[in-house]
């Protein structure tokens, strides 16, 4: 059995308490929520936090999924299974259900959290691409108070975010705008595997014209999990297969995949284009009300 190196353990009783604990325990302390990434890394001794601050008791404060005005709000402690089961999230953004269906397996989804996924900042994380496509905003709280961070500005690099060691992600907000559709497409070697590549798209149509679009990519080295060049090229264009392919090609050109046992670089780049096309196609169909 793999066992972690020694560490201290504290259970937070409130958001304030969690932030205070993180301050006291210092930069080598880590927040544990679902623990489905952190604990395996600790057991492999790839991660060696001095202390864990367990926030699983803060569900009442941090696990809500609701509509607030014209925004969808997802608590950072919402489990993947909660998001997958949320009718309100699925109604406004089918991309959440598309993605959650292919994230890990039911056991992980029952415990892993939305905020944990984003803060883990794994370069192959699905929800990072989803929130990048949706241009979601994270509410983050530290000792000095609350601030907003665009998900597109959250990640600094692999396993690194802009959060200070004593900051806690509270929730994520996504603007609800009419006329939109969204979708997520992923290729994996096996159910539960990290993606070989995946793409998410959200699109708003004015008739047959693309009013606005968001494209997220994961596991292919796209900066901030986004494809701004492709988005810019597609805005104002007709919502046709041809323009989707052209935009997807741009997305593929601007990503920077690395070779590993999931595939060589050219294949991953090909997938970035293929999956972006498919996601755009399905998102547009949904925007037209053609597909559930």
């Amino acid at each position: 059995m793999q066992v972690p190196a020694p560490f201290a353990y504290e259970r937070a009783t409130s958001v304030e308490h969690a932030i205070a604990l993180l301050g006291e325990l210092g930069p080598e302390a880590r927040v544990v929520a679902g623990g489905h990434s952190l604990i395996p890394m600790m057991k492999l001794r790839l991660a060696r936090p001095d202390a864990l601050v367990d926030i699983n008791g803060l569900g009442a404060e941090l696990a809500q999924i609701r509509v607030d005005g014209d925004e969808l709000v997802i608590g950072s402690l919402a489990r993947h299974a909660d998001l997958l089961g949320s009718a309100v999230a699925g109604e406004h953004f089918p991309i959440f259900h598309d993605a959650e269906k292919v994230i890990a397996d039911p056991v992980v989804r029952n415990f892993g959290t939305v905020g944990g996924s984003l803060c883990q900042a794994d370069p192959a994380e699905d929800l990072a691409a989803v929130f990048a496509a949706l241009d979601g905003v994270a509410t983050v709280r530290g000792p000095a108070g609350v601030r907003q961070v665009r998900v597109r500005e959250l990640h600094v690099g692999p396993y690194e975010t802009v959060l200070a060691p004593d900051e806690l992600m509270l929730e994520l907000r996504v603007a609800i705008r009419p006329g939109g559709g969204s979708a997520y497409e992923k290729v994996e070697r096996r159910v539960g595997d990290y993606p070989v590549a995946a793409a998410g798209a959200v699109i708003w149509l004015d008739g047959d014209t693309v009013r606005d679009v968001g494209i997220g990519l994961t596991a292919v080295g796209a900066a901030h999990f986004a494809a701004p060049e492709a988005e810019a090229a597609l805005r104002g264009q007709p919502a046709t297969e041809e323009s989707f392919r052209a935009a997807a090609q741009l997305a593929a050109e601007h990503c920077n995949p690395s070779a590993d046992q999931r595939g060589p670089v050219d294949y991953k780049r090909h997938l970035a284009a293929e999956l972006t096309t498919r996601a755009l196609r399905r998102a547009a169909a949904r925007a037209r009300g053609q597909e559930a």
Partner: protein, 791 residues
Amino acid sequence: MTTVEERPHTGFGRTLRKEDVRLVRGKGNYVDDVRLPGMLHGALLRSPYAHAKINSIDTSAAEAHPKVLAVITGETLKGLGLAWMPTLSYDVQAVLATDKVRYQGQEVAFVIAEDHYSARDAVELIEVDYEPLPVVADAKKAMDADAPVIRDDKEGQTNNHIFDWESGDQAETDAVFANAEVVVAEDILYPRVHPAPLETCGSVADMDPVTGKLTLYTTSQAPHAHRTVYALVAGLPEHKIRVIAPDIGGGFGNKVGIYPGYVMSIVGSIVTGKPVKWVEDRAEHLMSTAFARDYHMRGEIAATKDGKILGLRVKVLADHGAFNATAQPTKFPAGFFHVFTGSYDLQAAHCTVTGVYTNKAPGGVAYACSFRITEAVYLVERMVDVLAYELKADPAELRMKNLIQPEQFPYTTKTGWEYDSGDYPKALQLAMDMAGYDELRKEQAEKRERGELMGIGVAFFTEAVGAGPRKHMDILGLGMADGAELRIHPTGKAVLRISVKTQGQGHETTFAQIVGNELGLPTADIDVVHGDTDQTPFGLGTYGSRSTPVSGAATALVARKIRDKARIVASAMLEVSPDDLEWEGNRWQVKGDPEQGKTIQEIAMAAHSSLELPEGVEGHLDATTVYNPPNLTYPFGAYICVVDVDKGTGGVKVRRFIAVDDCGVRINPMIVEGQVHGGLADGVGMALMQVIAFDEEGNHLGASFMDYLLPTSLECPSWELGETVTPSPHHPIGAKGVGESATVGSPCAVVNAVLDAIKPYGVRHADMPLTPAAVWGAMNGRPIRTDLAIP
């Protein structure tokens, strides 16, 4: 559907597994469940390098850990003469490295501590000064002139060559090829895979310092063989060693050999005078224990233009890792690879196998391979499809045309093996009928018109199991016969003691059914004892699908001995001559007088009573036997797989899988089907996702279940099973064994299906695993070498 009878179950047929009463309630007892008073915990330090000289090892910080009792290195063992141990292939393997490390994950030091956490913490405190050496990660470069010599510990070893082996008639084969109308060649890799049982390996060693008796609880598929090897290696008297293999969570050949960790738990117990537990973690297991395959094959097939297969010629480069530790009978360095002639009536066949050392973990024979038959079947079944591709022939028709015919049995192959029985065309026809083969081909043609990729893969296999006849087969000099002891208690309940060891196969049920079938006793009344060398007769254990063919035969025969003895007792009870009695399923009765008879239960009580027995009959109702099989048994089957391939991503979906198995007489069809299900899932895994790959520094790229992928139910279709029954003519109950059939036969069916799907892209062959990337690469003319890091 499985149905369960409500009346007491006797004999063959579907019945719930007796062992499941404990296993499904979490009441199994595995090695890691063993907790002895005062037990200590061991952990191994392993090499981060694939090839490096050890300059020095500093254990002082680890020894200073407050909960550490001892730290043992190779130097310590050297003093005891235990630094090296024999392998099952007459090589030696380092228990703990002394001179250098030869693969990543090799055992370097052993820490014994009061608890598992402390042992792990202290392992990190050991400092080793390594001097990295050039690495041989690619078997194809092992024999290069400038390749570093991995086994410089062996006197006279100047390269990485282990053995050359051949089978068949080379001159005859060359002649057939020279005159053939069609000759096709293909390079085919069966990549390194790992059996990956969910329970990793481990042991608890308990050396009693007073009696000098060692009790070893261990994950062993072959407890008796292990006991003898420990006696030979450690010089412990064999009667002072008791090996107990408790419940085992999967073996698949991975738990046949002896690993350094087992030996270190024993050394640790001797050193500390207390029981020592060692259980490896998943990464250790995948990195260091017996892998499977790693066969680099070049196949050639000769045929006539109209598709009559004439001959096969094969050259294999076998990667055995850093120590030659493959587990197979002594005279068979390439296992039973002779069976590469497959299920076809050939004019000639020849193969050569060259074994080489590389800087990788040792092993080779594991993962339900029936001693390299997986590789052989994969090779021939791929080559038949390669021929079909060249001849533009239908792969099912081509097979049908070339199968050995029923009247040809017993059939002697061109490599000298005598297939015992079979009706191959019947099995293939049944599979085709179940699949709706012609309809599938029509559907495929329509889809191709539309640009959709659908594939139909056919594979036919012949297995060779039940090793084996002792004049041909031994492991380290131990003949491959198995004993059985049967004791009927006075009240007619029975205890059967067998030498083989279940790892999930259901021996406690099926072996009770064999006894019940012979004696008319309810299955529930027969207890099966196994996995404890102090309580069971000698035998070589469970692997190579040998339990039913060998130990199952021993069980039937020992029950028949009891039946014969019971006849004499019954004759005394009924005061008639034994010749006047006939056996009626569960009792001896007087011929022509069904009113007069005695059941085994009645006879058992009488045999233990004051009844006066005929002269020479000792009383009680016990018997023992040893079964030496006259030949192997040859199960076979026809498999058809249907896949859909996403041409934009290369993703493969297995839509259907039809498996017709003939394993002779089925003792418990439910258990047979369960074993087939597992083997088919293995095949999907190997064909589509499993590989232990290495980078050029010899770093292992599959040391977790995130990197080494096991298929889930979502990758597996709802299996469609069929059966034909051709009894083995030489087995007492006509059974042939089935444990590995599906693992042997299924990978090729899946691969043939995927390649059939992408045939429009001009692809004749691509290597496993056919991940989306590999399929896309093949479609785009850029195949990848799947056993090495993807560049």
